[in-house]
């Protein structure tokens, strides 16, 4: 066999494998990392990408509360959890970033159509991870949404180390914490974990490439954590969640932020 033939065959395999890479997530990671003013075009772009994300969240919520509905554009209609949440919410997102994802965007999407966005620059952009580092799959997409009757806060992070690991952590402090426990879907399959009054840092790790998103929301006074598959079938692994998540750790925010 010639080198050319070997090269062609090896290339065919490589391309087939590379084609399974999720370019939507990658695109959002790139688009979301470019510091720029929020032009209308960019807003549309991010909202469009966010709609894909919100669609995943909506599936969760729809199962939790039949009153939640998904608009054709993928935006949530109605607030499922906001009634128990008082604003403002202080959010910090300590994450590991590559140069490609050196900023996190916290986007507030009021229902009046205007955008209010702030940019969060991670405190630590070095390779040394925080002491409570979360390690998930490359280019993972962690979505955190808070809903309020008049405001939806959506935090999206994405990125990867050169080694292929993204660290996505959320240190959430609510001014009036509604949640007393952490619950993992399906209910009852993992023990309830008490949260500290000031909030919690939530860590999710997985052992399977099919893990893609983590969605943290509140319902009935709990925090609910769910995962979405990145498998080609693109199914929501509600029932299979426990098989994917190998560890779920909740630590008091004081410990998380203080190391």
């Amino acid at each position: 066999m010639s080198v050319d033939e070997l090269g062609r065959r090896a290339t065919d395999e490589l391309r087939a494998a590379a084609a399974r890479s999720d370019e939507i997530v990658a695109l959002e990671a790139v688009l979301g990392s470019r510091p720029t003013r929020w032009t209308g075009a960019r807003l549309v772009a991010v909202c469009a990408a966010a709609a894909l994300v919100v669609a995943g969240a909506a599936v969760v919520r729809a199962q939790l509360n039949p009153s939640a509905s998904l608009s054709p554009a993928g935006q949530l209609a109605g607030a499922v959890v906001g009634e128990r949440m008082s604003l403002p919410v202080r959010l910090t997102v300590p994450v590991q970033w590559t140069a490609a994802t050196n900023q996190a965007y916290v986007t507030l999407l009021p229902t009046d159509g205007s955008d209010r966005s702030i940019t969060v620059t991670p405190a630590d952009k070095a390779f040394d991870p925080p002491l409570y580092a979360t390690l998930t799959r490359p280019a993972d997409f962690m979505v955190w949404t808070l809903s309020h009757p008049a405001l939806e806060a959506s935090n999206r992070t994405g990125g990867a180390w050169g080694d292929g690991y993204v660290s996505a952590q959320m240190d959430l402090t609510l001014s009036d914490p509604p949640a007393q426990h952490l619950r993992v879907a399906p209910p009852g399959t993992l023990p309830l974990v008490p949260l500290s009054p000031e909030g919690a840092a939530i860590t999710i790790s997985e052992n399977d490439q099919t893990f893609r998103w983590a969605i943290v929301t509140t319902h009935d006074g709990d925090l609910l954590v769910a995962a979405r598959s990145s498998a080609p079938r693109d199914t929501f692994l509600w029932d299979g969640f426990n098989t994917l998540v190998t560890s779920l750790r909740v630590v008091p925010s004081g410990e998380a932020t203080g190391g």
Partner: protein, 188 residues
């Protein structure tokens, strides 16, 4: 769904002089998987390849409004990706140290056959420029002229690298170094 228009493109009067007016999102989708394959071949890591492909595209994205870079965005982003890939090993050392500190086991998935895995492993053992040329020539299916344009080197140099790489790979893989695609004209 077309996800994005690059900011400012709509108001930019220069697109008319560009060879092809294309949104960044469309360009991204056209190039992303090829870049992943290119970086994967050069690094041996799917995760790293995805990261490097994004990094290369981000570099272009930051210049998307600058017409100079749009003269040949494909060459720019491929060259960037190839350069990032061959320097990845240096970063890898630092990351490995960090990962060891957090105790994460290295569990890189094996997704290629032995034959393909061996081929790309041998490519990575080649000198840096030879590896880049091979990765672009085979992995990206570029012609010698296109590789030349991408890496900003003469076609003669590309052919020399390709010739030497083929010879080395033939020995290491027990293969025939006979050229089937493009006959190198070494020394031209």
């Amino acid at each position: 769904m077309d996800l994005a228009e690059s900011p400012g493109r709509a108001e930019d009067p220069t697109p008319a002089v560009l060879p092809e007016v294309i949104t960044f999102a469309a360009f991204f989708r056209r190039e992303y998987h090829g870049l992943v394959a290119l970086a994967w071949g050069l690094t041996g890591s799917r995760e790293a390849a995805e990261d490097l492909a994004q990094e290369a595209l981000l570099s272009l994205h930051r210049r998307w409004d600058q017409p100079d870079y749009l003269d040949n965005p494909k060459a720019y982003v491929r060259r960037t990706c190839a350069n990032l890939s061959v320097s990845w090993i240096r970063r890898r050392v630092a990351e490995t140290r960090a990962l060891l500190r957090v105790g994460r086991p290295d569990a890189e998935a094996v997704e290629l056959s032995d034959e393909a895995g061996s081929f790309w492993a041998e490519v990575r053992r080649l000198p840096r420029r030879q590896a880049q040329v091979v990765a672009l020539f085979y992995g990206y299916d570029l012609t010698v002229a296109e590789v030349s344009e991408t890496l900003n080197m003469s076609t003669g140099t590309v052919k020399t690298h390709l010739h030497r790489a083929r010879a080395t790979l033939a020995v290491r893989m027990g293969a025939d170094a006979e050229m089937e695609q493009e006959e190198p004209d070494v020394g031209r």
